[in-house]
């Protein structure tokens, strides 16, 4: 792992701008500010162009000979395919409202991380190649020529954008940097500049059904292992169904939660809840990934990976799909899935078998968010809950960017949390709900080599967590995203030490009183419940 400076050094951020025009500042790669390139065999497996061994620190990036033509053609193609792209290239007035909305700018101060300037990296090429003014006036019109340094700059800064869309909220024209970053990354793929942390999961997901490359038998082993832990904590034996045909519901959640702390506790939470409800459902080892790194790759790859959900739902003959806690998974499901792989007429509008509630909000996709499902259960008094079991946790909630600004699921998780924990505190207004800040590792950037930049980007979130830690004694940051569960622990350790990270359904299941359970003395993490601390020591 790359070394990174301590907080008191990292916080010395300089927001002033250099005297040189940004067009004359070359991109600077140093350990900690970029992600490693995709391995050649991964690119070969995915049929992506220009597989080779290279490093961003190299002078020669071994671009294909006709790389300029490839990019210009790719640019033109995308301008014709996306109205968003075309408009966002044309209408920006550079008012600067977005400038200090980006977490990477706030935590790093690099002016090219101002969303407006990030977009100008592309726009300047657009002007030069596709507008009359740019062709004639060149730099006077804000245009520049496509050089290798431009490609390097794109690689640096479009892999320093987590597609969180916070800037888009503040833009008077709704210019969405996520759209721009997606286009830029697609252009970079055309010449073979991409990162391994995204493409290896993509390749894995394609073959094994999940990012981690967990094969079916191993998936089953891992589930069983978690069931053993559940038995240790609750005394109840759970035998969850896998790949079962004829179940009413197919459940899909990110694979990240099946193997890593603290995601596994959320995974156990699902198992416990479904057991409690005696839900007629199944897991799938084939569609064992809710997340979709295709979203960070290209529309084609996103569609291909997402296609498994409906494919598997149809094969198993389920009525509808329930989706677990995940951020970008839900952006894909809410805004892309039906368009890409619908219609899903073989499914039915989700109806809760427990409460009878019909979820018309999911009438098209036939896919329900687990917090909608659980909030409805609690509202209808279907869960026997003992929040005092969570009394050791003072909880705040982190809205994931994608579910906040790409869906708007803000109240459901809060409603659940307030019902399962005794103490809940919000972080400051400008850092939650639709104004929420990224964890610093979204859009496929949650890798170790990128840690310094992640921590910088995590400053706004980390500082808000620190605020509630200091004012209310908050010690738990709840979230409903698997990437968050992977990225927020190091972030909290760095910016707000003493705060742990949990999923929502971990806390639900801590509070859930099961039939036939033994006297609960510990939570899912096997830490003592309030009042049982002494027993632990004996």
């Amino acid at each position: 792992m790359a070394k990174y400076p301590p907080p008191e050094e990292l916080i010395k951020i300089n927001y002033s701008t250099p005297p040189t025009s940004w067009m004359d500042v070359p991109p600077e790669f140093k350990p900690g500010n970029f992600s490693y390139p995709a391995k050649p065999d991964i690119l070969k497996y995915l049929n992506f162009p220009n597989p080779r061994v290279w490093s961003p620190m190299d002078d020669d990036w071994k671009l294909p000979e006709n790389w300029k033509e490839i990019i210009t053609e790719g640019f033109r193609e995308r301008l014709d395919k996306y109205r968003s792209f075309k408009i966002f290239m044309d209408v920006c007035v550079r008012c600067g409202a977005c400038a200090d909305k980006c977490h990477f700018f706030i935590g790093g101060g690099d002016p090219k991380n101002m969303p407006v300037l990030r977009a100008e990296l592309l726009r300047s090429i657009y002007r030069g190649d596709f507008t009359m003014a740019g062709k004639i006036l060149g730099r006077l019109a804000g245009a520049r020529k496509l050089e290798t340094d431009v490609v390097k700059e794109w690689f640096l800064y479009f892999y320093q954008c987590t597609e969180c869309r916070r800037c888009s909220l503040f833009c008077p024209y709704g210019i969405d940097t996520a759209e721009i970053t997606m286009m830029a990354r697609e252009l970079l793929h055309l010449v073979g500049c991409n990162i391994n942390w995204i493409l290896e999961p993509v390749a894995n997901c394609n073959r094994t059904g999940n990012h981690l490359g967990i094969q079916p038998h191993a998936f089953k082993d891992m589930v069983e292992f978690l069931c053993e832990d559940i038995e240790t904590v609750t005394g109840v034996r759970i035998d969850p169904p896998l790949n079962r045909k004829g179940a009413e519901i197919l459940f899909i959640t990110p694979s990240g939660d099946i193997f890593a702390d603290p995601g596994i506790y959320t995974f156990m939470g699902y198992l416990i809840l479904f057991h409690y409800l005696d839900l007629d459902y199944t897991w799938s080892t084939y569609a064992s990934e809710g997340g979709n790194f295709g979203l960070f790759t290209s529309d084609k790859m996103m569609k291909k990976l997402n296609g498994k959900m409906y494919h598997e739902a149809e094969r198993l003959g389920v009525k509808w799909i329930l989706g677990g806690e995940c951020g970008h998974m839900w952006r894909v499901i809410n805004q892309y899935m039906l368009t890409m792989n619908g219609p899903a007429n073989f499914l039915q509008t989700p109806v809760s078998p427990i409460t009878g509630t019909r979820f018309d909000a999911a009438a098209g996709t036939k896919m329900l968010h687990i917090t909608e499902f659980t909030a409805d259960l609690i509202k209808n008094n279907k869960l026997k809950l003992d929040p005092s079991r969570n009394a050791n946790f003072k909880v705040t909630f982190h809205d994931s960017c994608n579910t906040a600004r790409g869906m708007g699921i803000l109240e459901e998780p809060r409603y659940i949390l307030k019902n399962v924990v005794p103490e809940f505190y919000e972080m400051p207004d400008n850092t939650i709900r639709e104004q929420t800040f990224c964890c610093g590792g979204g859009a496929g950037l949650n890798n170790e080599e990128f840690m310094e930049t992640r921590l910088r980007g995590g400053l706004p979130r980390g500082n808000a967590v620190k605020y509630v830690r200091d004012t209310h004694g908050v010690n738990t940051l709840a979230c409903m995203c698997a990437i968050d569960r992977a990225t927020l622990p190091p972030l909290c350790d760095y910016w707000a030490p003493g705060v742990g990270v949990s999923g929502i359904h971990e806390l639900v299941s801590n509070a859930l009183v099961l039939d036939g359970e033994k006297k609960r003395t510990m939570d899912l993490r096997q830490n003592p419940l309030p009042g049982f601390e002494d027993e632990e020591e004996e």
């Binding site: 109205r83 968003s84 075309k86 044309d90 869309r165 888009s168 079916p216 084609k300 999911a362």
Partner: protein, 334 residues
């Protein structure tokens, strides 16, 4: 640098009109031909830009949601920031276009080293002056309709009356003129002194500002200082709109020709510049779409049905033995 260049270009335009319509005496060119040309360029350029946007597909439903979705009946939906249907979207757009709602949200970041503490202050100056700029611009444009209509419609007369209600000076001072100039100056100074905005600014940011400022100042000059012959001006403008263009016999002060030339330049520049945000704001997919793609299907015209997932059958072929061994159900026996 970009600001200086822009300033000098606008200055050159002023001199050009001054000399051209004055010394050289090309009043017909500056009063008739260039305005007609400008109008044509504007209309053609504006429409073709809008058409080029409009004919580009919107493959995905990608609104930026700014509030609670509509889901369960007992959870309060935020219909303006996260609309789920057409009427909510119309309101969202109306608020965006008429009140600059997104800009109203603006905050500025403050970093305190001790703590450390990252704070977010409300920052509404840009919103306020942007609103002042656009609305006074609109008022001024509407007021000018009195030069292109005969008889002048009642609403335009009313507008003029209220715009000059303070009754300052002769001819009476329009409040919109003052607000307009102040707002332009604010937008300009912000570009110069806010280091972040300064860093991103290019000539196409300064040029329209100077151009519009020059239009405002030349307009005010002719009204309040040169006191141009309004009857003669109206003769010319009515000639333009009735397609019987004439240069009036009564002399019109040269400042008028400067003014109309700068306006013509603005018209011609408009479709090729960032000023097209006027049209683009209506077409931005993150704002003008309801968040309903989970409810009903949004169709992508170029969706490629050939792109299929790695099939279950292929997956099972790959792992069948391991699956059987682990006791997982399989579709085909080995």
């Amino acid at each position: 640098m970009a600001a200086f260049y822009s300033f000098f270009v606008v200055l050159a335009l002023v001199v050009l009109a001054w000399a051209g319509a004055g010394e050289a005496g090309w009043k017909g060119l500056f009063g008739i031909y260039i305005p007609y040309l400008a109008l044509l360029v504007f209309l053609f350029g504006f429409l073709s830009k809008i058409l080029s946007w409009a004919k580009t597909p919107v493959p995905f439903c990608i609104p930026t949601t700014g509030g609670q979705q509509k889901s369960l009946p007992w959870i309060k939906n935020n219909p303006w920031d996260n609309p789920y249907n057409a009427s909510g979207t119309v309101i969202r757009m109306a608020l965006e276009v008429l009140t600059f709602r997104s800009l109203f949200r603006n905050t500025s970041v403050q970093l305190q080293q001790d703590g450390p503490k990252v704070g977010y202050n409300s920052a509404k100056w840009l919103w306020l002056f942007a609103l002042m700029f656009h609305y006074s611009f609109l008022l001024i444009v509407l007021r000018h309709l009195r030069l292109f209509t005969n008889p002048v419609p009642m609403p335009i007369l009313k507008l003029e009356f209220f715009d000059s209600i303070l009754q300052i000076g002769v001819p009476v001072l329009y409040q919109s003129d003052m607000i307009f100039v102040v707002a332009i100056l604010f937008l300009f100074l912000r570009r110069v002194f806010d280091c972040k905005v300064n860093y991103i600014s290019i000539m196409s940011d300064y040029f329209p500002l100077f151009l519009i400022l020059a239009i405002a100042l030349s307009g005010m000059w002719m009204r309040y200082i040169a006191k141009v012959d309004v009857i003669a001006v109206k003769e010319l403008t009515m000639g333009l709109v009735t397609f019987h263009p004439v240069i009036p016999k009564d002399p019109i002060d040269i400042s008028f020709f400067v003014h109309i030339f700068l306006v013509s330049v603005l018209f011609m520049y408009f479709p090729f510049s960032k000023l097209m945000h006027m049209g683009g704001v209506f077409l931005s997919p993150t704002r003008n779409m309801p968040n309903f793609s989970r409810r009903q299907m949004w169709v992508n015209p170029w969706n490629d049905p050939a792109i299929k997932a790695h099939s279950y059958a292929a997956y099972e072929d790959d792992f069948r033995e391991k699956m059987i061994e682990a006791g997982l159900p399989v579709d085909k026996k080995a």
